[in-house]
Assembly symmetry: C2
Homo-oligomer: 260 residues x 2
DNA sequence: GCTAGAAGTTGACGTAACGAGAAGGTCCAG
DNA sequence: CTGGACCTTCTCGTTACGTCAACTTCTAGC
């Protein structure tokens, strides 16, 4: 006795371990057309279809999109070439995921690593750092800068320890990206650099309503203030001058600052 | 002069390096609501919104889905816990991708690696293997088995070399998975094993219309035929008895075969 | 022949995270 | 007062199906 070589839709689905809805979908998009359709509209699949479905499922397991499968299966594209290209895409995606994982791990470390410092010390350190920065600004750019920092105090009033740590994590993440850009030889006034500074500017704006001149001044301050400079140099020793130049370029080109 | 602390939708978009459509989307789903909406319907965003957007974009860079962001940002879920769980998901996905890459690479190797063998040798080898298998079957199960293999010849008539190689690749891929299952201690008659055999059965059905008894017989044959056994043992030395048992269990439990 | 239940059919909507475009209202400078 | 930049809502499209809903067909039992 021979087994029937024709399968109904759910028989084929069971054989292949997929749903009949999937088979209907493949029919809809023309990827797998039944060998025969009965007068009542039932779909029937033969051995050729089973073979094709096997190839489809193999490709599906390889994460090949259905649109590409049609090209491959209909022979318009060489299977080997397609698989090689596809492999490249997969590797790229895997590497991207790895970068994301690294970033997440650094973020986690930042959020929970410094927990050995007590809350008092933590906030005291912040306050000292901030007041020093304020004095620096006041010395150099007059009382107006002092007012700016009053506003900064207001912006972060009510922040909890987590908020500061998160802000630090985000800042470090951005510095990482800038370091990569600098290492790639991107100039501080190149478009890519200014796009990164855009995000730095946004972070500064969130805590301090700096106008073009004040932001430009920040570019100098980062180099001259030892605390600030050390913090940045910790990420990348060559970053401070690059970032300083990038910030000043941004203030001029994107904020319309007129240097005196 | 203070910079305005309020931003229009496209100003904020530029600051953050995203599209205004994205901001509208975040508003629609309640992830980032503007601080103020003017009488003409314009959206206006304040510093708090800028801060929240920064957290959103950080999470977005970490591939966190928007639905989870709401939980995290609204404090229903601990940020650290969420990030740790998310890290686990990312690692899982990366590992899955790595497995897919491995499979693709093996498939490529199979498809192009044996090209040193000439076409004549390739098909001659196949013919020998097939005729031996046929004699084995005929010896043991009578002339009916011979007829089955005539049908098998018809099914593969017109196949090209690529078709055979692809079939081999698929078969090896399936054997890989079965080997993993066996190594995990899954019994040959467990549901997971039978589900894998379902796919083996489908592959066999594609080239050979075997009924329950014939498929059951194949289970024995895999063990006794040295060529077949060697091919399977090459993937995993312990696989032949496991696969043989699994095939027979499948024939009995899923195909309703009655052993005599 | 009738009927219940299994299995089939065609829509149509929902998913995630927006992009693209249409049609129309608002704002500001010259 | 008018042109152009900017804003609005609405809708469709994207991927690979899951999930109803409403209806028809097949098959087995009485």
């Amino acid at each position: 006795m021979f087994v029937s070589v024709e399968h109904s839709i759910s028989q084929l689905a069971r054989l292949a371990g997929i749903s009949s809805r999937t088979l209907r979908h493949y029919h809809d998009i023309g990827l797998l057309v039944p060998s025969r359709i009965s007068s009542s509209g039932y779909r029937w699949y033969g051995r050729r279809q089973l073979l094709r479905l096997q190839r489809i499922l193999l490709l599906r397991e390889l994460d090949v999109p259905l649109s590409q499968m049609r090209e491959i299966l209909d022979g318009q594209t060489d299977e080997l070439t397609a698989l090689r290209r596809h492999r490249g895409e997969l590797v790229g995606e895997r590497d991207r995921l790895q970068q994301v994982i690294d970033t997440v791990e650094r973020t986690i470390a930042t959020l929970c690593g410094d927990s050995t410092v007590s809350d008092e010390e933590f906030f005291a350190g912040l306050a000292v750092g901030r007041s020093r920065l304020r004095e620096d600004l006041a010395d150099r750019y007059g009382a107006a800068a002092r007012e700016h920092f009053v506003a900064a105090g207001e912006a972060t009033a009510g922040w909890g320890r987590q908020d500061y740590q998160r802000a630090a994590a985000e800042g470090r993440h951005l510095l990482d990206e800038m370091s990569r850009a600098r290492a790639l030889g991107i100039a501080p006034d190149a478009t890519e650099a200014l796009d990164l500074v855009t995000r730095h500017h946004a972070q500064v704006l969130a805590v301090w309503p700096a106008d073009a001149a004040a932001y430009h001044a920040l570019g100098d301050l980062l180099l001259d203030n030892p605390d600030q400079r050390a913090m940045i140099a910790q990420v990348d020793p060559d970053l401070p001058p690059w970032l300083s130049a990038a910030i000043k370029a941004y203030a001029v080109h994107r904020l319309g600052h007129q240097p005196t």
